[in-house]
Symmetry: C2
């Protein structure tokens, strides 16, 4: 394990060693980027002294990547991958040869923006502005697990413009994350030129206004200054209740005369000749570049896989399911809240919790207040800061904590889709439980009605999509997803719903024997004329339509497709081969379940009558049932469409 | 026209009048929310003094809603609609009766969150944090048009937590928007309780750090104090180069003893009894509530339509198309940049520009530098602040300026989808031209590769989706969308592409005669065995596959579907009835063009062989053609799949 910070600050031998390390790493940055003919050498050199120093003082171990007490580095500016890979090679994480031959090359792990398939990398980044949120989530997780290690987040100065960073700053200050250390590479250059011309940002004032410690390093290419700042972090600031940011005044391209202080080298590389001149300037033989070019051009290079940092997931007790009888209507939100409480009771032993939750100023609406009451230390109120909350929750979900993120659909899906996309690329284990989906939102109107949650979430392929239809199914689904690794999206509406029953009209369909199974359709009723496939809130209207049709002597099959992704392809094919199909959803028809089923039918060359009912335009502001009626989704309209389908 | 600000400050008669207005408006807030049984009365009362004062000093005219010199109010906290509608009724925009009977009622315009269908409302809001960006876009537009009016943005204090506001603050300061005035209703309560417990925010320090004038109003329920602050705004601060924020210290529920300072009344309403007691407290007859309840319960109420504020759109000269010959490859990005320059030359007369552009620190990559050079005053560099930029550009596009918003697909689509959704609900005229779509992004890797742009954008139904296949088509498409009202998404990749030719291999297919037509498929080649439908960058690989197949004696039809939405349904039906189909796209197969075509086939009960090639998992970091090969999208794989399709 490498861990020098407790005794080695400012020792002359160390400084000398760091300078030698710098030369070797600078050489790697030049060689790798010129070899790949693309990449970001300027910012890599700007941050290089900092990264070398950081790995000298952090607790980390190339032989044991995931030891629990390691300090963490979240690299928010993923594009300075040449610097990161160079430093990781320097500290023994892999051979530089692999990096040189595989950098920015299809099939290889050494991507243009850092990815965790590379040993030592904690989190894939690339989209700017998310790193401080990741660091907050990890820092909170370490605290919950009683681990005293630090979390460093290395950021750019241009990146400070992203609003998500303002959100993360406030959150970290609110939760007194003294184990969180931001580092800003302040070189005053971004792609478009000088940061103060592109978008003036008073970085230090902004962090001060948010209640952070701010430490300025006047020259971020002087190891003494950098180590002195780290000493403050590790020793002086220890009892602090504030997060700290180090602002490192640096120079883009520092140490390479051709590149110094030129915005151009943010994203362009040295020519072979310039690279050779630079290698010479650094004290290396220029000819070695030819050697690497020749080797890289050979076509027999096989991509390597490495042991890398991966997510943790705990064993979860799912508790005893709750049964909701027909006596009263229940909203799925409340069933979620109750199940979450049960999970907390079953799994959250004080000082060693397993279940955590995030919300965004909607705790009561999303029914997390019971969970909060039981585990106040596991519930995180992120304020009206959804981008930050989505990312921080995603980061926590990889640290061995089963993390629930709940807010309205418009915020859980539409506003934060790109944050969840990065969570997904990081193989997080996030449980998004989104309430207030569809026209069922009602009076709050179109800005608050997510009518495209499947259409959006199915573009984030690692997320399963589950839409329970009543309180009983919700209860089982929540327990199920808590016990499973991976990303899940569970969606629900706002209204109270009747308990779905068996044909007898009394026994709950989703009884205590029921176990949720992904990719399984549930046959609620079986008829001989046509099949209605639906899910979620609107299934209640379908069940009403079923009754209306029955009065007219038409008995239809009613199927609940709670598992939208994965979908039960085989059963859908069987249904479509045998009966006309009506799909009904509180969702855009052209991007929802109807479209998924039609794709399957076309692929299977099935010619069958099918009609999709759903939302076809933005909703209005009014009672849900009135809004449904305006778009033909009331029980009577559904029944009418079914009759039209079977008679035409 | 109502416009008192030049002579009426602090006159006792006015103050008396305002107090009377307050009583009448408070009455309306109570009646409307109790009638609808839902809504936000607490925040409405918190902001009521401010709104009444604002309409007393702003230039506005209920008889001429859209007169150019009006001052604007953007209401960022859309949920205080009861206050807004009450004040608008007070100032003669509509009858209070319509509001009482239609508030939060399906089919009526008086939505729970303000919408521009209501006379006097400038912008639909509801999702918090977007208003200051809207105001920035409008303020910039007014300046470009030489109009000296002011833009007020009324915000909440909880809302200040949203990162997008930090972005808007910096942008407004950078562009010295002294005509922009933020107003913050500082009542220290949000849904979750005290703002300082939910998420501590040093509001005034944050605005100061961003370089704003900050004016504090110690008691925002005293008309004298409020008018005095407005006097500063209109008179004292006039020569300022800074935007100004007024922080109004207020009390939630002020003036109604049952509600004062209770977070509960953020989103819940008074019972009939409490409402009656409150009417009495305000000096009105409690019985009138019964009258309104009775009237509202009658079922014969027909929704009314009103004249309302709508978007402006100028006449645009499209200039002379440019022809790209087969001599060299051109990227669509560059063709976009050239067309945009031409549009600027043809339409942007100094002091009266019509074409504007926004980018986010990627000006050169998205090829806007030529446009910027010609019209520096029409180009807005928003920094790495995509959420703000998307909203500000959307707002500007409604002010009679044809506004282009360009950045990489991941930022133009994935990161900002919810901002564009609100633009769409506001019937904006935004031209999103997104570069760097698909695996074609190459070495920057999966975080930077948008592979779901159709899957996402088709959930925002007002946006047309157009994917040109070469430089010539791009040129015509850009000119076309500039000349048309409405929202457009035009997407392209990164690579240089050959010019698509006619069968002779020499003449450009999209020649000078070509006119882009929405909803039209282009037959590039006609064969007798099968049809390949494709679009955008990957069409180049399809054309190569076409040649490979031709060598083997297989002649296929090749169709370019540049217009994805609207789609040429009729032609797709014809094709599908006659030939096996292969769809090829640099996009997820399950949410892209392939899925759209399959839906059409299933709806039309067409049983035909179809295979969809496309992206099936996140891409890697490498050369685009290598990434294509890894997912079976290279010319050879396409040809092989086609053969498999026609032989199986």
């Amino acid at each position: 394990m490498i861990n020098l910070y407790d005794n080695a600050f400012l020792e002359p031998i160390l400084l000398n060693d760091l300078n030698e390390k710098w030369k070797r790493c600078a050489r790697r940055i030049i060689i790798s980027t010129t070899l790949s003919k693309s990449g970001h050498p300027g910012g890599s050199l700007s941050s290089l002294h900092t990264l070398i120093s950081l790995y000298a003082v952090m607790k980390h171990d190339p032989e044991d990547l995931m030891f629990a007490e390691r300090d963490r580095l979240i690299l928010s500016i993923g594009h300075i991958s040449p610097a990161v890979y160079s430093v990781l090679a320097e500290y023994g994480y892999f051979d530089e040869e692999d990096f040189f031959l595989g950098f920015r090359r299809a099939g290889h792990v050494f991507s243009g923006h850092v990815e965790m398939d590379v040993p030592g990398v904690e989190w894939n980044t690339g989209n700017l502005g998310q790193g401080l949120s990741v660091g907050s989530g990890v820092a909170l997780s370490l605290r919950l697990k009683g681990i005293a290690s630090k979390v460093f987040v290395h950021m750019g100065d241009g990146e400070q413009q992203k609003g998500q960073i303002a959100e993360a700053r406030r959150f970290a200050a609110k939760y007194k994350l003294s184990n969180l250390v931001g580092i800003i590479d302040r070189n005053f250059l971004q792609i478009g030129g000088n940061t103060e011309e592109v978008m003036p940002t008073n970085i230090r004032e902004e962090y001060l206004a948010a209640g952070w410690n701010v430490r300025y390093v006047p020259f971020g290419h002087d190891f003494s200054q950098i180590l002195s700042a780290f000493k403050d972090i590790f020793i002086e600031y220890e009892p602090s209740e504030r997060p700290t940011v180090l602002v490192m005044r640096t120079v883009m391209g520092h140490g390479v005369s051709i590149m110094e202080n030129k915005a151009k080298y943010h994203g362009s590389v040295l020519s072979v000749d310039d690279a050779k001149a630079t290698l010479k300037e650094l004290g290396f033989a220029p000819e070695e570049l030819d050697y690497w070019i020749e080797r890289r051009n050979r076509e027999d290079l096989a991509p390597k896989k490495y042991i890398h940092i991966d997510s943790l997931y705990p064993e979860i007790l799912t508790g005893s399911p709750r049964l909701y009888t027909i006596d009263k209507k229940t909203d799925c939100r409340s069933a979620y809240g109750e199940a979450l409480k049960d999970l907390a009771v079953a799994n959250n032993i004080e000082n060693l919790p397993k279940i955590t939750g995030f919300s965004c100023d909607l705790e009561t609406s999303v029914k997390m207040q019971g969970f909060r009451f039981i585990c106040p230390y596991c519930f995180f109120e992120a304020g009206i800061q959804e981008h930050h909350a989505a990312t921080a929750a995603g980061a926590m979900s990889r640290e061995g904590l089963v993390t629930f993120f709940s807010t309205f659909g418009v915020f859980a899906v539409n506003e934060t889709a790109n944050q969840h996309r990065l969570n997904d690329q990081n193989k997080a284990n996030l449980k998004i439980v989104s309430t207030h989906l569809g026209l069922d939102v009602g009076e709050d109107g179109p800005t608050h009605q997510a009518i495209d949650y499947i259409g959006i979430m199915q573009n984030i392929p690692g997320f399963s999509i589950i839409m329970p239809a009543d309180a009983n199914q919700t209860d089982r689904v929540i327990r199920y997803i808590a016990s499973k690794k991976g990303n899940f999206f569970v969606g629900m509406g706002r209204s109270l719903l009747p308990t779905i029953t068996k044909e007898d009209g009394v026994t709950p369909f989703y009884d205590l024997e029921y176990v949720f199974e992904p990719g399984k359709l549930d046959f609620l009723r079986t008829g001989d004329t046509a099949t209605i496939i639906s899910y979620g809130t609107i299934l209640t209207n379908v069940m009403e339509a079923y009754k209306l049709l029955l009065i007219e002597g038409i008995k239809v099959t009613v199927v609940n497709a709670a598992s939208i992704s994965p979908i039960d392809r085989k059963t859908i094919i069987n249904i479509a081969k045998n009966q006309p199909l009506l799909t009904v959803e509180d969702h855009f028809t052209h991007t929802g379940l109807g479209a998924i089923i039609k794709s399957i039918m076309a692929e299977e060359m099935i010619s069958q009558k099918i009609k999709s009912l759903g939302v076809t335009k933005y909703g209005g502001s009014g009672k849900p049932q009135d809004l449904y009626a305006l778009q033909g989704l009331d029980p009577k309209s559904i029944a009418t469409e079914l009759k039209r389908l079977i008679t035409k």
